[in-house]
């Protein structure tokens, strides 16, 4: 048995609560070749460069045969559906993303997200109201999870009461993304089929009786690029459903944890108007929801960071490590909400930049502000809290918090 690599240690669940010293170690070398042939990139400049490098593909078809098993099932349809657009390259990627964007944001729907702000406020208010009359809560189960789920359901047009059904399908997909095994991949494939079937039925209903939701748009509106056909529609819907909440849960939970560890920032959030705007940006850098992008492939040999990344090999971009790279970011290990020119990698970069980033930012700004202003004397009941298994979508699975009371909204 060979010595575990730094990256192996990062993936090891035992280090989930505090991977930061391992990331420091990882950055002593910009690019590592793992024993299995995967290349791991740790430094800000190199990650940024590869996000803009047309020799880096997102299409698993470019993997050499011996790496085919590395294609994670989170977004490749698990064999049941075609890959979603985050697992494709231009020109197909650009077309699919443009059609998906047409129902979500500019240029076709420029104010969809802006107009959603009052609804977002109302959902957070309702959830925090639910904490009244208790003296402790699980911030994940009570706020961080239900909030983005309610939002993505409203946006997509998925009935919120179906949440227990789809979360039973989403869990195996997310779990197998972190550490794919033959059993977990089989479960994920099954889940993709079930979710696809569910989405198919929902699409039929929206087609007959369209609303103002994105799903209705996808099945009724016909733009210059046409509509999403068959499997592409379901792959896109499942991607948006999963990505639309699995990441934001972490952002809010990591955010609340960070605020309770930095009481001065929590206090400023209560008193300074607009403080949440830059605070959330710093939070994204300091505690990103997605710790690495695991699914890139080199289509040519690439000389970078003193190493040659080999054609056909998988490439892992460790965003969380890049975000703490002191070579590019001053006092990178300090949580500094006043940081100017905060350029970070939390949402990736280049053509695959996070589709839902504006929504995630707003959700975190609104949720954390309201929690800060309303929860009286909040205390962590476990530090560190227990974490979810995934090393990719990293965040607490539970965040028990005690408090003295809840102020009215």
């Amino acid at each position: 048995m060979t010595e575990p690599s730094v990256f192996d240690e990062i993936v090891d669940f035992h280090n989930r609560a505090n991977p930061w010293p391992l990331y420091d170690k990882l950055r002593t070398q910009p690019v590592w070749q793992e024993a299995d042939g995967t290349f791991v990139v740790s430094t800000f400049r190199e990650i940024y460069a590869l996000f803009h490098d047309p020799r880096i593909s997102s299409d698993a078809a470019n993997l050499l045969p011996e790496f085919a098993h590395k294609a994670g099932p989170l977004s490749d349809g698990g064999g049941a559906l075609p890959p979603s657009f985050i697992r494709t390259d231009a020109p197909r990627h650009d077309t699919l993303r443009r059609i998906a964007m047409r129902q979500f944001g500019p240029p076709h729907r420029p104010d969809r997200i802006d107009k959603l702000v009052p609804a977002l406020e109302a959902i957070v208010t309702r959830l925090v109201d639910g904490l009244v009359g208790k003296d402790q809560c699980d911030l994940v189960d009570d706020v961080a999870y239900p909030f983005p789920v309610a939002v993505i359901c409203e946006l997509l047009g998925v009935p919120e009461e179906d949440e227990p059904r789809f979360s039973a399908w989403v869990d195996p997909i997310v779990n197998s993304a972190g550490q794919p095994t033959p059993e977990s991949k089989e479960q994920a494939k099954e889940a993709f089929q079930q979710l696809g079937m569910y989405m198919f039925q929902l699409a039929q209903r929206r087609k007959a009786d369209p609303g103002d939701d994105m799903l209705s748009g996808y099945v009724t509106d016909d733009g210059p690029d046409g509509q999403l056909e068959g499997g592409d529609l379901f792959a896109t819907l499942i991607l948006l459903l999963i990505a639309g909440h699995e990441t934001t849960v972490n952002l809010i939970a990591n955010g609340w944890l960070t605020l309770l560890r930095h009481p001065e920032a929590l206090q400023r959030l209560r008193t300074e108007p607009d403080f949440s705007i830059r605070m959330v940006e710093e939070l994204l850098r300091y505690e990103p929801s997605v710790h690495f992008v695991p699914n890139r492939i080199a289509v040519a040999d690439i000389e970078i960071g003193g190493t040659t990344i080999r054609k056909g090999h998988p490439v892992v971009l460790v965003l969380a490590s890049g975000n703490r790279d002191g070579e590019c970011i001053p006092h990178a290990d300090r949580f500094d909400p006043d940081r100017a020119d905060n350029v970070h990698l939390a949402f990736g970069n280049g053509v695959h930049y996070c589709f839902g980033a504006p929504l995630a930012r707003l959700e975190a700004q609104l949720a954390l502000t309201q929690l800060a202003k309303r929860l009286q004397n909040p205390r962590l009941l476990a530090d560190p809290p227990p974490y979810r298994p995934s090393p990719v979508l990293r965040g607490p699975i539970h965040l028990p918090v005690a408090y003295d009371g809840v102020l009215p909204a």
Binding site: H52, G105, P106, I277, V299, D301, Y353
Partner: protein, 534 residues
Amino acid sequence: MVVDLTKCQGYAQCAFLAPEAFRMVGDEALMFDPAPSADQRVKVLRAAAACPVQALQVDMADLPQQPPAEPLVAAKGDRLRRDGRIVIVGASLAGLKAAEQLRADGFTGTLTVIGDEPEEPYDRPPLSKQVQTGFVASADTTLPRRRDIAADWKLGVAATGLDLERKRVVLADGQEVEFDRLLVTTGVRARPWPVPEEAALDGVFTIRTRGDAAGLRERLLAHPKRVLVIGSGFTGSEMASVCVELGIPVTVAEAGPAPLSGALGGVIGRISAGIMREHGVDLRTHTKVSSLQGEDGKLRRAALSDGTTLDVDVAVVALGGIRNVEWLESSGLAVGVWGLACDAGCRAFTAAGLVTDDVFVAGDVARQPQPMFGYQFLAMEHWGNAVTQAEVAAHNMISSETDRWPHLEMPAFWSLQFGHNIKSVGVPPIADQIAITQGSVESRQFVAAYGYKGRVVGAVSWNQGKWLDFYQQLIEQAAPFPLPYDMTNPPPDPVPVPAEFPDRQYPGREATVVVTGHDPSERRATLVRPSRRR
């Protein structure tokens, strides 16, 4: 506020979060309102914080209170930094950015900013775009202030002379301003129509200033029968695009083979010509305007070199610019049609080719050797260049020899026309070949690389700007051309072809210098002006 559109890669975060102030055009082009109403403040702050490349600059008055920065204290012996006198001539983008940089670097002496226009520094790119379509008022384009620069502003009064011996700038109203260090950022003015009587006709416009833009906008609002655009560089092409958007019939007269061919070559020019014609523009290449004809002082017709006569009531003269150096002609500095020559650290040259130590230059008026591009002296009339060059000049003005920076910024520019976002890095016009590297011309989503003698010297993207950082690196590394490896989204035809640039002449080649004196200590060079040569 202002968006640095050189940095902007079209992530649209601002357009999501503040849709009244930011609009996406197509996939990645951005239009913005530089002066959004007060009730947009929080949304604009959200947009500014969210920008993934931090391209959005908000006026300090609208920013949240910052903890006070540690004051920079000048070293004891550093008299210039502590209480020197710095004069900046030219109160536009470069002048403002230099002033801000001087203060950021700890300059606490007196700062005077002189500008011939009466307005505070304003942003010019919107004048040929969102101002003409009516999204933004020309008066709302004032550049944001990023810090307090505590300057003595002398606006609406032109500098008319420079006395290097006495270190004084002479102003049109007779004032003289003394300096220890001078920065020249006088930029470029629009080249007027060459026949003065025709240029004076009502309806004939150039477009460089706020006044120009406001006048033209008013005329376009009155639904002219037809607009004639003379010249199809970026400004001319953008004006044609505006006319199409406003539903106004437009003819473009281009003396060369295609639009944009001076900046991007004939291959890209033909693509651009095709797009213009698809949008209904009456594009006439290899065609000059012979005369502009009026009645009662109003423009009525234009006669073209193709023998036709057009009924037009508006003509936009887009024939490039003239560098504002006349005030320096008897200063002994190396000025001419090429601008003011300087070293890579922005120090101006004298006519004899000596580098000065107290006169600096930045922005459109500066012509500087570019080590990355064969050490050629190039003038970069780009927004991003004005900013970075001004910052380097400002830094060098108050730094000792060993602390000086070279201005090695990668040239970059953008243009938005006919719904397409065109961005470029490097210096395409020095290239001999071009090759499509990603995407397809047919889909109007592609990247092309420019090569010179087997290395990459430039790139242009059409609606694919997020890839340009890669090409910038290739240029900086003097990477081989054509690119010798596989890439995603390969083009149908990757074979390099001639880039088809018009022959370029170094404008300094025409300079005439008279040398006098015999002893090395007496040798002097004087530039002879064409007007005086006769």
